[in-house]
Homo-oligomer: 465 residues x 2
C-alpha cells in the first residue's frame, strides 16, 4: 500500500496502452507514475516509414514527457522495470545508471507490449532484424540504403544481385507495408542516384506462411493487396516458411515441402510477436497463467485473477482472442483508466468491451486497403482514409504538420528525405556481422575510433528483448 | 595514368570542398569519382542543431548521391580511402565489406576535412565528445536529453546538480552555438516536461582559453556575444584551460594559474581541430610537409609541391593562414574544379584567391553576430541575416523547406521536435562509460539483446578519427 494519501497509479510502458491509460487519468484524483525504459512514445504503425527514409525519429517517436506535459498528475520515469511484488504492491525498476528504485502503487497498469518472435530461432535476429523498436528501424534503414550503396560499387554481378535482393518474412500489415515501401523506394525513390546499378532492378520477396497476404482483412482485400504488391514488383511466396537464415540468404520451405535457398543480403523479420518478458514476470508474481504467445490470461475487465488492482493490457493480455493491434491497446488503456476512476467513486468494475474500428494497411503511395465494419476500401479511396486516420492519430499538432510535410514530398515526388546511414547503423555493422569472426579485425578499422575500440563490447545497440 | 580516354578526376571527401569541386565540374569533359566513407554531405554549420533536437539527421546530412543526381558525370562511391600512390596516380579505398578498390586518376582533389583535436589528450574524447560528425551530434543529443532524464529521477541533490551541469570547451562559433542552444533548451525548450526538476536551473559553462569568446569576430561582436550568452545564463570562463576530463567532471586552470574542479556529467569538446589523418598520408606520398595542425603546406594554387595534378583543399590545406571554415572549403573546391577545367583548355593554373564573405554565429533564437566586410551586425538583424544565409546555403530545396518548418516551431514556440534517445546513443552508453569496468555487467542487461551481447565488440559506433 502506498504511503501517500493520494491514490498512486503506476503504469509500466508508454506505448499506446500505457499512454492512453495515463491520458484518461488526467482529471482523476490520482498521482500517476509512468515508467518506460525509453524517453519516447513509439507510433508503431509508422515505424516502416522510419526504416525506409520517409519520416525521422522525432516524428515517429515523440518524447513521452512532451506528450504528457499538460498532464500535471503524471510523472514520467526513464527506467527499466525488473520486478513486481503484488503483496507489497511495489514495482522495482533500474534507472539507466544501474541504481534500482521501488515504486509503490495502489493501482498498477502493465502495458509493456510485445517484441518480435522468431518462433524459437532467436539466432535469426542478427541477420533478420525485426520491426518493433526505433533501433530496429534505424538498423534496417542503414541496411536497406546501405545495400544499394554496396550494390553500386560491387563489380561481381552475382554479389550485386545478392545486395539487391530483399526478403521480408511475414505477410501481415507490417510485412506488407515494408515490402511495398522497399519496392517503391527502389522504383521511384532513388531515381538518378546511381550510375552502375538500376535500383528498380531490386527484387523484393515477401514470404508468408498463409494462403495470401493480409489474411485477416478478408479474401477481397487480401487479393487486392496482393495484386498491388505484384504490380510494384514484389514476389509473394505464400504458404512458405523460412527455415534458416544466414548472412547471405534464407532457406524457404514451400507448400510442397521442398526447400529452396534464396540468396539475399537484406532480411526483415515481420513474422510473429511475443509478449514482453515482463508478462511472465507479472504472471508469476500474481499466480496468473500465460498463453503460448507469452500473454497473461486476464479477467474480463483486464485485471489479473485475484488482483483487481492490477491490469495487464494491450499486447500483453490474452483476452477473448483480441488481436495485438494499436486499437486494442488504446481501448484497454482507456478501460483501465476508467475502471480505476469508477472504483474511486465506489462503483463496480465493468467488463472490457472492444469496439473494432477496423484495420488498414498501406501498400504504396495512393494505395491502401481498409477494413472498417462492413466497409471495404482499397486503392486511392483506402489510401485517403489511411492518410486521414494517421494524421488524426499522430501524436501532437507539430508532428502531424511535420509528417504531412514529409509525406507531401514523398508522395508527390517519390523522394526520401531521411537516408543518413550513421556509423552506428552502418553498412559496416551488416558487414561485420556477415564477415565471420576471422574477418572482423580486417573490417573494423575504418569504423572504430582507436581509443574506444577495446571497451565497447556491451553497447551493441540492441534493445532489450 | 588512367586507362580511359576521358580525363579522370577522383575527389576524396564529400564535405563542402569535395562537393563544390564535383558540382563545378558538371559541364567539364571529365569523369568524376567522389569517394566518401559516408553516404551523406554533412552541413557542418548546423550540426549543433542536430545535437540539441531542432533538426533531424536527414536535414543536416542529405545523401551525396541525391545532391549529385543530376550530375551525370559524377559517380559516388561509399568507401574509406586508405592510400595514395602519386607515381602510379591511384587512390586505394576500402569498401564497407573490407574489399579494397583502386581508383586511377588524372587529377586528384583531396578534401577529407578535419577532426576534433584534443591537443594530445585523446583520452578526453570518450567523456567529452566532439562536434564534427553526425555520430558525435547524435551521441551528444542522447547525452544532453539523457542528462535531464537522469536528473529528473535522481534523489540526491548533488548528483542531480552534476546531471544539470553542462561544460562546453572552446569559445569559437561551435562552442558558442552549442552553449547558447543548451541554455535556451533548458530555459524554454523543455517547459512543462518535468515534475521534480526545473530544467531552467541547468548550468551551462563555456570554458575558453582566450580573453573573450568569438575572438575572431572583433572586440565589439565578441562582447555582444558574451553579453547575450550571459543573459541566457551561460557562465563564461575565459582565459581558462581544461587540464583534465573524467566521467564526473573537468579540471580547469584559470588565468591566475589555480586549478579548479567542476563537477558535471555532460561535457562537449569544441576546442580544436586537426586535419584528417589522410593529410599526412597524402603529404608523405607526395613529399610535402604538414603544419602543426596536420594540414598540408600547398602551393598558391592549392596543389602539392611538384604535383600540379593533386589538390589538397579546405580544412586539409595550410595556405596563407586561411581559416578552417566552410567558405574556404567551398571556394578552394571551386578553385580546384576551375583549375582542372583551365588545364584541359591548355590554360595556366591561377593562384587561389579567397574572398572573405565574413563569418557569423547564432547565440540564441533571434540573436546572432555577423561580421561581413566592414559590416558588423548583432541581435535580431544579425539573426535575420544568419537565417537568410543558412536557408540559401542549405543543400536542396526540400531540406530548406523542411528546416524552415522545424525552425518555425523552435523559434516560435521554443520546442524541440527531435529528442529521441535511441538505445545506440543512449544514457546507457554514457553510464556504461562512467560505470567503470566492474560495474558494466550489472548495467548492461536492459540495453542488450541477449543473443547479441557476446559479439558486438567491434561496433562501438564511433566514427574513424
Amino acid at each position: 500500500m502506498a504511503d501517500s494519501p493520494v491514490h498512486q497509479v503506476v503504469i509500466v510502458g508508454g506505448g499506446f496502452g500505457g499512454l492512453f491509460a495515463a491520458k484518461f487519468l488526467r482529471r482523476a484524483p490520482v498521482e500517476v507514475t509512468l515508467v518506460d525504459a525509453r524517453n519516447y512514445h513509439l507510433f508503431q504503425p509508422l515505424l516502416y516509414q522510419l526504416a525506409t527514409g520517409i519520416l525521422s525519429e522525432g516524428e515517429v517517436a515523440p518524447p513521452l514527457r512532451e506528450i504528457l506535459r499538460r498532464h500535471a498528475n503524471v510523472t514520467v520515469e526513464m527506467a527499466t522495470v525488473e520486478g513486481f511484488d503484488l503483496a507489497a504492491r511495489t514495482v522495482t525498476a533500474q534507472r539507466p545508471d544501474g541504481t534500482v528504485r521501488t515504486y509503490p502503487y495502489d493501482s498498477l497498469v502493465v502495458a509493456a507490449g510485445a517484441a518480435q518472435s522468431y518462433f524459437g530461432h532467436d539466432e535469426f535476429s542478427r541477420y533478420a532484424p525485426g520491426m518493433k523498436t526505433i533501433d530496429d528501424a534505424l538498423e534496417l534503414r542503414g541496411r536497406i540504403f546501405g545495400a544499394f550503396e554496396m550494390a553500386e560499387n560491387e563489380p561481381d554481378p552475382e554479389a550485386r544481385r545478392a545486395w539487391l535482393t530483399f526478403v521480408v518474412v511475414g505477410g501481415g500489415p507490417t510485412g506488407v507495408e515494408i515490402a511495398g515501401q522497399i519496392a517503391e523506394l527502389a522504383r521511384t525513390g532513388l531515381q538518378g542516384n546511381f550510375r552502375r546499378i538500376d535500383p528498380s532492378e531490386a527484387e523484393v520477396l515477401l514470404v508468408d506462411g498463409g494462403k495470401e497476404v493480409l489474411a485477416t482483412f478478408g479474401d477481397r482485400l487480401s487479393a487486392k493487396a496482393a495484386a498491388e504488391l505484384r504490380r510494384l514488383g514484389v514476389t509473394i511466396r505464400s504458404k512458405s516458411v523460412v527455415t534458416d537464415v544466414d548472412p547471405f540468404g534464407v532457406e524457404v520451405r514451400g507448400a510442397d515441402g521442398t526447400t529452396e535457398r534464396i540468396v539475399c543480403r537484406t532480411k526483415i523479420w515481420a513474422a510473429g510477436v511475443q509478449a514482453s518478458p515482463l508478462a511472465r514476470l507479472l504472471a508469476e508474481a500474481g499466480g496468473a497463467t500465460c498463453d503460448r504467445a507469452g500473454r497473461i490470461v486476464v479477467n474480463d475487465d483486464c485485471t489479473l485473477p485475484g488482483h483487481p488492482e492490477v491490469f495487464a493490457i494491450g499486447d500483453m493480455m490474452a483476452l477473448r482472442d483480441l488481436p495485438g493491434v494499436a486499437e486494442v491497446a488504446m481501448q484497454s488503456g482507456i478501460h483501465a483508466a476508467n475502471t480505476i476512476k469508477r472504483r474511486l467513486h465506489g462503483e463496480e468494475a465493468a467488463m472490457f468491451t472492444y469496439r473494432d474500428l477496423g484495420s488498414m494497411a498501406t501498400i504504396s503511395r495512393f494505395h491502401a486497403v481498409v477494413s472498417f465494419r462492413k466497409l471495404r476500401l482499397s486503392g486511392f479511396l483506402g489510401w485517403l482514409m489511411w492518410l486521414l486516420v494517421h494524421i488524426t492519430f499522430l501524436t501532437g499538432f507539430r508532428n502531424r504538420l511535420s509528417a504531412m510535410f514529409h509525406w507531401t514530398g514523398t508522395f508527390a515526388a517519390g523522394g526520401r528525405a531521411e537516408r543518413t546511414i550513421t556509423v552506428r547503423q552502418t553498412v559496416g555493422r551488416v558487414v561485420l556481422e556477415q564477415a565471420g569472426e576471422g574477418d572482423i579485425a580486417r573490417v573494423v578499422p575504418p569504423f572504430v575510433r582507436h581509443d574506444d575500440a577495446g571497451d565497447a563490447a556491451p553497447d551493441d545497440g540492441h534493445p532489450p528483448p
